[in-house]
Symmetry: C2
């Protein structure tokens, strides 16, 4: 199937051309922002770290008291068929579970499950070599342990972010750092220990993959991180499914370390790339 | 047109049977919970306090940097036509403005505006005579001044609420009371002064209508309200478009005052009913 064929989505229990994938306006995602989702990469038709993403998706659903309408083997089968139908070289699959069609506009109905797959762009070597700039914002996510669809604060900050020439946002609450809207955050301290906030953050899969490396290039731990410590850090980076390990070189007006992506960050990126490659063998 | 005719919605710039009103899954409400809404009552084909609701709808849109695709007179015209087409005796109209179809799943597109109208049930005399029970929950809304679609916390609490035999939730943050998920909150103090929280609450239209009564039945002001003060109050009540003035007689295990709806609460309900009646003359 050539890549120019129409993409398929999975919705209402069947495969449907993506441009015909609709939800009725009584859906609780539309009326009340009620839903969870997850997102994983597919390299050469192979989903990466799929078990971890499925674990998190079912866990998020449970936290919002939503039942995924497919058991796990059936959902894995849908993912497999979607990948075969769409046949994209490098892509991301998004799974969304909404509160369903609500009878009274507030109480959940039977959850709607939808899957879409789209081509994916990963950070280029140039972006990695340059690093990115963050702005800070005081905000605590409502239910940090669940991957809910609520991104109102992050999206509202897009304009301010661009106006300040920044690439992303770093959330903190009263000076204690948590995460970025769509990524986890790490600092490299002067003794080369890498620390990522443990509390009030999303359980990122890439974050977990770095924390559990069998041979990490430096000591890497979970623990509290304050803004003051961030400003003093040698290096910092974000992790996410699409960002992988992305160096952070500036926060507001503060240049971190040398202002260049540092060796510890780049070593963890290399370790992640090797881990991803192992998944595809 | 008999009431059994199919209801119309307004979506994608046209009137469509409600059961055919759909949004594509790339809409930012579905993907990121990004949108605002408002809701007003229609009595005998006459919208009540429409100017105030339109003010708030456009203000909420502005706070999320979304542009309502219709100017105000055009939107009022759509509302008028929807009311004529659906011809319901007592109803509510919901206006939703979403972040639109997003090209990359995160940045807003051209906002989607949709209007639906459905029959409405107001509190019965029996419900008013009995009063309701609340449970408390520590929570601060993300953007209290905007009427966003994000109700994740309120909806997640539905099960707990029902398990405790409660009818609604009272949000507080560290003992300072704010509001209910879909209503404002008032206490009646022992000197008969009525107080409603001023900060971190939605600018309720019913709340505003009570605060600006030309001849209020008791002194009514905005100000801080603590949980300790709530437990000591003579009376308490919720206000909203659908709840009007609804007596609160119990919070968790604490019975308020006599445990019956009190005279000050019922006097404000009467004042609101008169104000509503004036709107229809």
């Amino acid at each position: 199937m050539p890549a120019s064929s129409p993409l398929y989505a999975y919705i209402h229990g069947q495969f449907t051309p993506l441009d015909q994938a609709f939800l009725h306006v009584s859906d609780l995602a539309i009326l009340r922002g009620y839903g969870v989702f997850d997102f994983f990469k597919v390299h050469a038709r192979e989903p990466l770290f799929l078990d971890a993403y499925l674990d998190r998706f079912y866990r998020s659903a449970q936290l919002l008291e939503l039942t995924v309408p497919l058991e796990r083997p059936a959902l894995a089968g849908v993912i497999e068929e979607l990948i075969q139908r769409n046949n994209l070289p490098l892509s991301g699959i998004k799974m969304v579970l909404t509160g369903g069609y609500s009878a009274n506009g507030y109480e959940p109905g039977k959850p709607n499950l939808l899957l879409t797959q789209q081509p994916l762009a990963l950070p280029t070597p140039e972006q990695v070599a340059k690093g990115i700039k963050l702005i800070i914002h005081d905000f605590l996510r409502e239910l940090p342990s669940a991957k809910t669809i609520n991104y109102a604060t992050g999206i509202r900050l897009l304009k301010q972010m661009k106006a300040q020439g920044a690439d992303d946002v770093l959330y903190h609450h009263q000076g204690v750092v948590t995460e970025a809207p769509r990524a986890n955050f790490f600092v490299v301290k002067h003794d080369n220990t890498v620390v990522t906030p443990a509390i009030d953050v999303l359980a990122g899969i890439t974050r977990h993959n770095l924390l559990t490396l069998s041979a990490p290039p430096a000591r890497i731990i979970e623990g509290p991180v304050t803004l003051a410590e961030v400003y003093q850090a040698k290096e910092a980076f974000l992790t996410s499914t699409t960002k992988r390990v992305l160096p952070v070189v500036q926060i507001d007006d503060v240049v971190l370390g040398s202002g260049q992506p540092g060796p510890v960050t780049l070593a963890f990126l290399q370790a992640l790339l090797e881990l991803e490659a192992q998944q595809q063998r």
